[in-house]
Amino acid sequence: MVPLSYYIVLSSVLFMLGVIGVLVRRNIVIILLSIEMMLNAANINFVAFSHYLHNIAGQVFVFFVLAVAASEVVIGLAIIIALYKNHHTINVDEINLMKW
């Protein structure tokens, strides 16, 4: 039997890796991948608590997170393709359209 805290530590490390990925990478696709990693960390927590607290609601919420992740990736990749068509770059350092 694995203690609940092990799962929480695992998901925290995964979330930290996602945060670092969003902060340090220049490629927008990799930034979206890092967001997926953070969503996965949240999902691991949901399922672990669902198992240890005997409540199926956690697994239902993983389903909703999946729906949000799917719609996020569709919109995000469409924006990236539109951006690449117009600016020929997907480097976040060179995208300053909305800079004040």
Binding site: M1, V13, S71
Partner: protein, 175 residues
Amino acid sequence: MTLVLFAYFAAVILITGILVVTLSNPVHAVLSLLVMFFHVAGIYVLLNAEFIAIVQILVYAGAILVLYLFVVMLLNLSGKEKSHNRQFLFGSFVGVTMFIELMIFLSRSPLSGTAGSDTVDKIRSTGNTQAIGESLFTTYLWPFEIASLILLVAMIGAIVLSKNGILRESWGEKK
């Protein structure tokens, strides 16, 4: 035995997670994320959530990752230019600080809650998929409908964004 499996899954998840952040070639990063999704599915199986594990493989590894790979191939990015920006050290520092704060908070919290009625034996007797379905279509029916609406909006948004000038042309003809 469970602990050994958990250690294996956790080790692979962390290694591939580090690879996603560090690898400069986007295709390699996407492929290591694919390996990570499979091992997250293994973690779900360890937690008696077989339906979620299958959905993880079908939706994440099957659909979302293919979409990522497709876009990376379409944009034809080379991994030659610098993949990390200047605030590499600062970003890692912020991430590690956040992690330490989380660990401090977690070590001080009792991690307790009121246990529900869905014990492992009860879920096993009805079946994991059926248990989730019953909860999804009774207690969480309204959020389920909202999720379908979100997916519809995402689909329409993607079509409008990727079809260049779909709005402009139809509006221009009316003028």
